[in-house]
């Protein structure tokens, strides 16, 4: 009986208004002195506070540079890292951050309708500019991701050189993939799989919590695994830091070749002096370099071809392509039932051709993007091999400016550092 009532209701009241396109139940004119309440909508965080964040970032970068290069203070950097964890991590909940801002830049390049917010642009740019002057000061104690790993590092193990070099390719691949997905408007991979965001927000999906726990657990015995083997922003800093005006120099005056600094570096960033070479090894090295240089275009082409073919598969990550695929399958009777995506499409009554056209446009972007990504991966692997074959001459223990995170650990292990206090004389 009630069901029947509802049906009458529908036929008499709702259907006509649907046809006429007006409100189904006209808002009443009240006879009593009832006044409609006003809905309250709390404002977003004031924009000037974001500019305050930029100021804090700039100040922290300057302080990190000062502490790592002028004061040479590990303790100061540790305090700065603790501050970054508190401010950029727990207080600002990790957003915005320079690491993720790569994707906003890529999105604004790929999608002209997205204008890059000035705040995000500043977050992207400041650590890079700082790298031109003081190296990777951002990594030293400002980045909340790096700081979280730095404070959990208990007993660093040495990562074997071959593994270090192999894993060292991953950040470049991650950077390329993140830019492809961001520029096509598909996903922000770096944010979606940020291993420390669930720590700072104290919430997350089971997958993300697992990644966080795993990364922190590995971080107790491997120095900063995310920074060294995944961080895509680190790639940009790696390129710029060797151009820095001031760099980490371990021995204040003269290196006594004691290799204590190398043992103290948990990130494998200190390079050993090269030994006197035998001419035979030199020739062998040269032929290997020639081979790798020849291999480079092959890797580039193979990567590009694979990427072009794989682009279509990657395009499934874009919401529109996923929706179009599903709607097409349903329209052709290949699957039964509907999903939330296809229902959303049917409800808006957009013509199916429009959706399929939009999806194929995105798929074409992915073909091009896949080609570029594949070629990029080929290039990165090829160049890695080439650089491995090049020998550089070094007479002292030196921090590799590209890999050095300026954490300041090595300073206090250098006997020279303590020379003014008379340590060398005391030892003998």
């Amino acid at each position: 009986m009630k069901r029947l009532h509802a049906l009458y209701y529908w036929l008499l009241l709702i259907l006509p208004s649907l046809v006429l396109g007006e409100e189904r139940f006209p808002p009443p004119e009240f006879e009593t002195d009832y006044s409609q309440p006003l809905a309250q909508h709390p404002a977003a965080r004031a924009e000037w506070l974001s500019y305050l964040d930029i100021a804090v970032l700039a100040a922290a970068l300057a302080l990190a540079g000062y502490l790592s290069l002028r004061r040479r203070s590990r303790r100061g950097l540790f305090a700065l890292a603790a501050f970054s964890i508190a401010y950029f991590g727990f207080f600002r909940q990790g957003c915005a951050c320079p690491v993720g801002s790569i994707q906003n830049v890529a999105l604004s390049v790929g999608r002209p309708e997205y204008a890059l917010p000035i705040v995000v642009a500043a977050f992207f740019l400041l650590p890079l500019v700082a790298a031109l002057f003081v190296g990777r000061a951002f990594c030293a104690g400002v980045c909340p991701l790096g700081a979280a790993q730095d404070v959990v590092l208990l007993k660093p193990l040495k990562v074997p050189a071959w593994l270090e070099h192999a894993l060292g390719v991953l950040p470049y691949i991650y950077l390329g993939a993140a830019m492809l997905f961001a520029a096509t408007g598909s996903a922000f991979l770096i944010c979606q799989y940020d291993p420390f965001i669930s720590l700072y927000r104290m919430s997350g999906t089971p997958l993300l919590l697992g990644i966080t726990a795993g990364m922190l657990a590995i971080g107790t015995v491997v120095g900063r695994p995310y920074c060294r083997f995944l961080c895509p922003y680190g790639v940009l800093l790696r390129w710029l830091a060797p151009l820095a005006r001031w760099r980490v120099s371990i021995a204040p005056r003269e290196c006594v070749q004691c290799h204590l600094c190398k043992d103290s570096c948990p990130f494998g960033a200190i390079r050993t002096p090269t030994l006197a070479e035998n001419p035979g090894g030199r020739r062998e090295g040269k032929s290997r370099l020639a081979l790798y240089l020849l291999l480079l275009p092959v890797l580039l082409a193979a990567g590009g071809a694979l990427g072009y073919l794989g682009g279509a598969a990657l395009s499934g990550q874009h919401a529109t392509v996923r929706q179009a695929n599903r709607v097409w399958l349903e329209a052709h009777g290949k699957v039964e039932g509907t999903t939330l995506e296809s229902e959303a499409f049917y409800r808006h009554g957009q013509p199916q051709e429009d959706l399929l056209l939009a999806a194929s446009a995105i798929r074409r972007q992915f073909n091009l993007g896949g080609l570029l990504l594949g070629a990029w991966i080929g290039l990165v692997i090829g160049l890695k091999l080439v650089f491995l074959a090049i020998r550089r001459r070094r007479t002292d223990y030196q921090a590799d400016p590209a890999a050095c995170l300026a954490c300041g650990r090595c300073y206090r292990f250098c006997p020279e550092e303590h020379a003014p206090a008379g340590v060398l004389e005391k030892i003998g």
């Binding site: 069901r3 409100e23 189904r24 139940f25 006209p26 808002p27 009443p28 009240f30 009593t32 009832y34 409609q36 309440p37 006003l38 809905a39 909508h41 709390p42 404002a43 977003a44 965080r45 974001s50 002028r70 909940q93 957003c95 993720g100 801002s101 994707q103 906003n104 830049v105 604004s108 390049v109 002209p112 997205y114 204008a115 890059l116 917010p117 000035i118 995000v120 642009a121 992207f124 740019l125 890079l128 500019v129 031109l132 996903a187 922000f188 944010c191 927000r201 919430s203 997350g204 151009l243 005006r245 204040p252 005056r253 529109t320 939330l340 995506e341 959303a344 409800r347 808006h348 020379a419």
Partner: protein, 191 residues
């Protein structure tokens, strides 16, 4: 540091000049990206386009904070003040009263009060709302559509990539300028 004070050489000055130029060029490039629109790009926040929303209920569970930053808002000017409110009552309610078994809202976040015959007022008790959109679905399908979901900016932490936006099947999440953070129905002003 027991080093001699460094002397400023021509090379240093050139180095500073080049680094400064590099930084300026990068800032210029990013500035071009920022200013490509009509006006300077302000910061953005996430918001739901109520016309695209399909009330799939994922807003309640996909947000990084619990309960969700998405809640229902009520456009009173659009409301019909119906006695049988499809946003408030379950399908086929036993009685048109506020007994829990008759309510659609799983948390009892809609307060119903008598105004005058035959009109009833419906007010959202926002702290109780979990953003599940069950009431929005009822009101949109059978009523005036005066109930709709919005990201509440006193709760939203404004993730660079909104977790709900990633999951939204209707792609209803959009970035809006921070000074106009709501997409209200009927051009209603935030206040």
């Amino acid at each position: 540091m027991a080093k001699e004070p460094e002397k400023l050489t021509r090379r240093d000055i050139l180095g500073f000049g080049l680094r400064g130029l590099g930084a300026l060029a990068a800032a210029g490039g990013l500035g071009a990206l920022a200013l490509r629109g009509k006006a300077a790009a302000t910061e953005t926040v996430w918001q739901i386009d109520p016309d695209k929303c399909t009330q799939c209920e994922l807003c309640a569970t996909k947000c990084v904070i619990t309960p969700s930053a998405v809640k229902v808002v009520h456009a009173y000017a659009r409301c019909g003040y119906c006695e049988l409110c499809f946003g408030f009552f379950e399908d086929d309610p036993n009685n048109l009263d506020t007994a829990a078994e008759n309510q659609r809202c799983p948390t009892g976040a809609i307060k119903r009060s008598y105004v005058e015959d035959p009109y009833y007022e419906y007010v959202i008790d926002e702290p109780l709302c979990i953003g599940c959109a069950k009431c929005v679905k009822g009101c949109t399908e059978f009523g005036n559509g005066s109930l709709f979901l919005q990201v509440r900016h006193d709760r939203c932490v404004n993730c660079n990539q909104c977790a709900i936006a990633t999951a939204c099947p209707a792609q209803a999440f959009v970035r809006v300028p921070i000074d106009q953070p709501y997409l209200l129905k009927d051009g209603e002003q935030a206040g």
